[in-house]
């Protein structure tokens, strides 16, 4: 139960690993802390469902620690605006929420990068992370034949998770070449935890074809997907599937930091050693500062939490650990760099903007993102350009513009502050 108006010393946006770690660190220092999240339960996308199903020990540990920390969880609460300094406006199923903060920690995580190819809009084509989250939310998966493609370590983790739930994984198709993926695997030797985790996954996925240097070129089906055409540069073939999980690694969620006026560098939020952004009292941790994975997010989250709570020493003590994860982050981004062929999967007729059904040919003819928006409606729909904007950035090299409220579609009534 949440109040229309509340006030905290420290407000954390996002209840994934970075947000939970930040909240624990700050609340354990005696601060009044709230974590705001759109989802009904803590854990973020990566640890979704872990509060009720025990499967990831690390998640259990942090969720337990969070429960004991004294921090408040404002669940089902989507931040939609920052109407004035020190205040967030959010939407809850029961109405608008105004949340005041003295320090803000942004831990909004990442979303999957989706790239358009013929058939990618068919029902049954989803992000691997998206499918995993839906399965955790009860999506019927047992007996379903799934092809997983795209790129990144997530493909393996998702294959593992889906297989445990009774899915048949027909194939995992990783776009990155084997040489680079193997090199990345070797680098994880420096992070024993990651290695053990990786080996476990590989053992459980024995018998599942894992192909590198393979990418999707077309999803086939009428009303829903029934097969996918894959390519490796010299051959093309078709794999039957009930579901196609396809995602090209992750894009940081930087809408809130942008709305707060935080500076970005290379598409990620610029932070100092304390995870402080360029805006006073606004911190940022985890994926928005660079796609680094769970462990990196946990470390950065704690640093932000400690420093927002005034415990700079404890924050500083974690800086070596963070440096290690940043090395891992760099290795991961190099290993799973996207191949050029992925820029030309879409035909001129392929839907590029899924909300407004704008074909790739029309979008490509524009001089840039703003012109595409103005003259073709690309990016003007309900997802506010999150899907096509990220694809346009990779395929066409276009930059995004500033964000406007609401940061997520919200009931018009909730755009007015408090009392509806």
């Amino acid at each position: 139960m949440t109040e229309p108006r509340s006030r905290f010393d420290i407000v954390v946006v996002g209840a994934g690993p970075a947000g939970l770690a930040a909240a624990c660190a700050a609340a354990e220092k005696g601060k009044r802390v709230a974590v705001v999240d759109d989802a009904p339960s803590p854990g973020g996308q990566i640890w979704k469902g872990e509060q009720s199903r025990l499967s990831i020990p690390q998640a259990q540990k942090w969720i337990e620690r969070f429960r004991r920390s004294g921090a408040t969880l404002l669940d089902r609460t989507a931040v939609i605006a920052a109407p004035e300094p020190g205040v967030l406006l959010a939407e809850h199923p029961e109405g608008a929420r105004e949340i005041e903060w003295s320090k803000l920690i942004i831990a909004t995580g990442a979303r999957e990068l989706f790239l358009p190819f013929p058939g990618w809009t068919l029902p049954g084509v989803m992000g691997p992370g998206g499918l995993q989250a839906l399965v955790k939310g009860g999506w019927p998966i047992a007996g379903k034949r799934v092809v997983i493609c795209g790129t990144g370590p997530l493909l393996l983790a998702v294959a593992d998770g889906l297989k445990k739930q009774g899915a048949t994984i027909a194939m995992i198709a990783e776009q990155a070449p084997m040489s680079r993926v193997a090199g990345f695997g070797f680098k994880t030797l420096r992070h024993p935890g990651k290695l053990v985790q990786g080996m476990g996954i590989f053992a459980r996925l024995r018998g599942v074809p894992y192909r590198c240097g393979v990418w999707p070129v077309q999803a086939n089906g009428g009303e829903q997907v029934n097969s996918v055409t894959l390519a490796d540069g010299s051959n093309q073939w078709t794999e039957k599937c009930d579901l196609l999980a396809c995602g090209f690694h992750l894009v940081p969620n930087v809408e809130l930091p942008l709305a707060m006026g935080c500076e970005l560098a290379g598409g990620c939020v610029r932070v100092d050693a304390n995870q402080l952004t360029t805006v006073p009292d606004v911190y940022c941790s985890g994926e928005p500062t660079g796609i680094g994975g769970v462990d990196c997010a946990l470390t950065e989250g704690q640093i932000a939490g400690y420093s927002a709570a005034g415990s700079d020493d404890q924050a500083a003590a974690l800086s070596n650990e963070r440096a290690g994860w940043h090395a891992f982050r760099l290795a991961m981004s190099n290993a799973f760099a996207l191949r050029e062929e992925l820029k030309s999967l879409a035909n001129p007729e392929t839907t590029f903007c899924r909300c407004e059904d704008v074909a790739f040919g029309r979008v490509k003819a524009a001089s840039g993102w703003r012109e595409a928006k103005l003259l073709t409606r690309c990016g003007m729909g309900a997802c506010q350009g999150r899907t096509c904007g990220a694809a346009a950035k990779f395929i066409l090299g276009w930059g995004m513009e500033s964000v406007r409220p609401p940061l997520l579609p919200a009931r018009v009534g909730n755009l007015t502050r408090t009392n509806r």
Partner: protein, 377 residues
């Protein structure tokens, strides 16, 4: 200075685009210069009304003339201009506002504008989502709604078919009183005449011009087809939004052809910043909820702001400046630039070529302001 163009139009908003279309159609060698995107300024920020208005005889003459030109052009408009002949419903909340309905009827009917007075029941029947208890309204049948950026693009395409040139990403630094413009890079382009069609930014090129930026906010919803059927405007509009003084809000909603609802409006002077002002957004939406309570439950997907080019007498500035008959103006259209773009283009071309004008041009001439509202050197 030898002129390679008869006319250079600065600004590819809907007004500049319409001027270009009319000039090029009249055989003038026309160049359009735009520093940003086609229809990317006030044109992109506005609602897209095509309406008749009756604040003054001059305003009526220009809006009615322009609306007629829109209706004539309708068969040629591409689908993405989203022309929708939805009509306008002016709603009266009380008897005082109902008197205004009859006054408007008395004004419009003798001038040949098709209007209908609706009583409380009729208003509730045609727009069931309006709150109960309204006094009535006036329906203006031939008013419409368009998507302005694509309309601007279409006008420019027409202009180019008549031989006009368009150069984008070109910033004009100065208008030259002996003809031509100086660009940001110091180079010059020559023309017999220059038109400043840069809307709210026009005083930057024509110092002293009494055009002020008047900020507005809009909210657009996700698709909710049929939520309203007309563009609806409150008659309290007259009491609030038209006062030139302090910040004001008025209830105004448009059904877009996409099924989306576009909600306005707000007016603020001295608010240069383009950010969303939550205090005025709050007032604007609360005003809208007073008329359409069900609006609260629609899904809002975007809020934005823009600046209108406001003049002291609420009429646009169309014609030659007093200081130089080589420098012309087509600006100051405030909230009616989409409607009046076409009339402005015709009026400008007729004046340039010494042709008779379809409506009196005097009320729009820069000469009406002290010193002609300009000081070029």
């Amino acid at each position: 200075m030898s002129s390679s163009y008869d006319i250079i139009i600065v600004g590819a908003g809907i007004v500049g685009a319409a001027c270009a279309m009319e000039c090029a159609r009249s055989g003038l060698r026309t160049l359009v210069l735009e520093r940003g995107h086609i229809g990317g300024g006030t044109t992109a920020a506005g609602m897209g009304h095509v309406v008749v208005m009756d604040d003054s005889e001059a305003q009526f003459a220009l809006t009615n003339y322009s609306r007629g030109l829109w209706l004539a052009l309708r068969p040629q408009l591409p689908a993405d201009v989203e022309f929708d002949l939805c009509g306008t419903l002016w709603v009266a909340a009380d008897h005082e506002e109902m008197a205004e309905v009859y006054r408007k009827q008395g004004f419009y009917e003798p001038r040949g504008v098709h209007v209908e007075v609706l009583d409380a029941e009729a208003v509730a029947r045609v727009e069931p989502n309006l709150r109960a208890g309204l006094a009535g309204g006036l329906r203006v049948r031939d008013d419409a709604v368009v998507y302005p950026p694509c309309a601007a693009r279409f006008f420019l395409e027409q202009a180019m078919q008549y031989g006009a040139e368009l150069r984008q990403a070109v910033t004009v630094k100065r208008l030259l009183s002996n003809g031509g413009v100086e660009l940001a890079d110091g180079s010059r382009l020559a023309a017999d005449r220059i038109v400043n069609a840069t809307g709210p930014w026009s005083p930057e090129l024509t110092p002293g011009l009494p055009v002020r930026k008047r900020k507005g906010h809009l909210v657009i919803t996700d698709r909710a087809p049929g939520f309203v059927h007309h563009q609806i405007v409150e008659l309290g509009y007259l009491k609030s939004a038209h006062s030139m003084g302090q910040d004001s809000v008025a209830f105004n909603i448009q059904p877009r052809l996409t099924g989306q609802m576009l909600i306005g409006s707000s007016r603020q002077f001295d608010a240069e910043d383009g950010g969303v002002d939550h205090a005025i957004l709050d007032r604007m939406l609360r005003r809208a909820f007073e008329y359409l309570p069900g609006l609260k439950d629609l899904s809002a997907i975007r809020t934005w702001t823009g600046h209108r080019a406001a003049t002291p007498d609420k009429l646009p500035v169309i014609g030659p400046t007093v200081v130089s008959d080589r420098i012309w103006l087509a600006t100051g259209h405030e909230g009616l630039g989409i409607t009046t773009s076409l009339g402005t283009g015709r009026l400008l071309a007729d004046l340039l070529l010494g042709r008779p004008t379809a409506i009196p041009s005097d009320p729009f001439l820069p000469a009406r302001f002290e010193k002609g509202g300009a000081s070029h050197g």
